[in-house]
Symmetry: none
Subunit: 218 residues, 4 copies
């Protein structure tokens, strides 16, 4: 078993090699599982793709499920790192929403692998992937929180009743649209316009907010 030292010392040359191997394995596993699912991905395939013998995979990870969990976690980290941080966003609420939708759609289009892995594992529901499923829930909770913040900021100028609740609903709906659009893109790649769907959703939600505000005024 690969005991990762919690100690703070420089890794030896050998240990660095180990870290590199670990990375190669995770990358290969993540890619393959995103393509074929957990059950459809064999350790032999990961070994082939990563270039390391299967024995080495089991030196770094205790089991196939463990490897899946690591791949999900690692992917989540990279995904979050690729999103703009809140303080990098424009302060104007409308611009802010636009920027978030824009960057999220871009991330979906450019690095679809991780999202596919997420959805696949979430739907597969085998027996041995509880750790991975927990990681998925964590990822989504984080994403939802971020969307929530943005929606709240956006609805600020609209003085509608139950504004925070409304923001949460907007966030949930947006998350669903992201997942749905991604899947549509997968099944009908030619006729699916991810950005178009996001755009329309944004316009519709704002229209709804305006309408609610007008009702309130009346």
């Amino acid at each position: 078993m690969a005991r990762q030292a919690a100690v703070d010392r420089k890794p030896t040359q050998r240990e660095e090699l180990g870290i590199e191997s670990r990375r190669k394995i995770i990358d290969a596993a993540g890619a393959l599982m995103a393509e074929r699912g957990f059950g459809g991905t064999s350790i032999a395939a990961v070994s082939k793709r990563s270039g390391l013998p299967s024995g080495s995979i089991y030196w770094h990870f205790d089991s196939k499920a463990d490897l899946l969990a690591a791949a999900v976690e690692e992917g989540a980290q990279r995904w979050f790192d690729s999103l703009p941080r809140l303080d990098e966003l424009p302060s104007d609420p409308v611009e802010r929403v636009e920027r978030v939708f824009e960057t999220t759609a871009a991330a979906l289009e450019e690095r679809p692998q991780f999202l596919r892995l997420l959805l696949l594992i979430a739907l597969e529901r085998g027996d041995s992937d509880e750790v991975a499923f927990a990681a998925i829930q964590r990822v989504r909770a984080l994403a939802r929180e971020r969307l929530n913040d943005i929606m709240r900021a956006t609805l600020e100028p609209f003085d509608v009743p139950g504004r925070d609740e409304l923001a949460a609903q907007f966030a949930s709906l947006t998350l669903s649209i992201a997942d749905g659009a991604f899947i549509a893109h997968h099944i009908e790649p030619d006729s699916t316009d991810i950005r178009g769907q996001f755009d329309m959703a944004r316009r519709a939600l704002i229209a709804l907010a305006r309408e609610l505000l007008a009702e309130e005024d009346a």
Copy 2:
């Protein structure tokens, strides 16, 4: 070879027994593949769940992929049969939309198995499931067409420019929301309100349509 074309004569007792076996196998396979994916479902498991020996499975189907395709097709048939036919829908456009959203959400909640199978297979993209993937595309094309009709009917009173195009976009978005809400329900069953999301989407889209109409008038 299995399935001989459905000749038009009464099936003998023997043949009826065969039909029953076929049904049992498809049911078992559909349920298992929806749980564990194609790769994660073994013929042995289907044999156990259906109660028929694996040899019998190979009498009815040429291969595992063939069985998957049949399960998808069969599920699609049942799914469509469970939806209300167009002529059963109310003629008032608003009521009609409401009814469609209502019945679709109900179908998602009550018989989630088939949709899970659909999404799972669509995301898995192995090598051997082209037939199944084609079936999935057919199913979605039909669903989209139906949604299209409804959206067109709904937008009829709104005399916005590019109305048909708009209806198509509304249909696509709704399909995405259906998929996305279903997935959300899978990952966070407790905090996901499928009907709530549908409801909000409906209201937002109508608000958008109204706004577009108002812009036009101005």
Copy 3:
């Protein structure tokens, strides 16, 4: 899994082939495990020795431990069948003891495989062989019972106190000598005289019985 039909019908030609395969596998496994122990015997080795592919082994048996249990049970059956039945023994007690010692020693010398398997498994004490261990205990209980009967019959003419208790102790000791002599024969085959040990044990026990009787008389 090989469902053995409890039904009383003639086995088909195919089923007979299956029974033959099962026998081949058990024979190979019994021989190998007696040579190398349970842990040291691989399914691949059993496959090679039996001439059947490993998949077939798992059609007939659920696991390696299951196979071991079957081999022990089968060996026990054959072993017992090879021993003379009580009613075949001479009625004269001394002759009877002699005959039993004689036939048991002969069985040990001629078919040592099963006893080796028994002792090996008994000493190995892994985790997965509870069924086999239970079988071993059953075998020994039977053997002890048989020896007990004989010892009781033998001590009948000696009117010593606690005769039955004494017979049981004689039986236990004889069982131990059988095991011990067998092991000695294994480690030092050239200098070990199994029959000689049995002979001496018999004489010593009879001498002891006589002495006890004499003490009683005094």
Copy 4:
């Protein structure tokens, strides 16, 4: 290569650490092999039990078989050290036999591990354990010799013909009873009385000696 010959100088701190590691490894290996046999004991298990990485095991020993041999040899040494030396035994022959039986039975009961290892390896007869088997034969030869001495001393007062030959047979039988009783204790721990068996064997042998003497007199 490992073990350099024990040069006569104080071991450095480093070397002492090495000796300690060696001891830990041997202890772990001995215990595990006594439980699961040679084939059933993995280097990984020895590593875990001893707390030293598998690489270190291979620094101290050339191979797994080498480690087994060392464990057997080491166990034999300790076993012999635990037995009373001849000059510590009482001079009265009867007392002497009693003491020997007593101490041997005690050793069997208190430190059964080594004997189990011995018997297990003796029965297993793999390919790679010739060194260990030779060690076992040496151990038994020593044990037999010791028993021989004692039996000869014990039979001294009995002036029977072929006394030395008889002593050797008594020794062999006693050894067998030791092994057999130990095994019985293993299989039926609750109903086996090791000391009782030894006691009865002792009485029976003495009775036989007396009888032979009486015959001679007659």
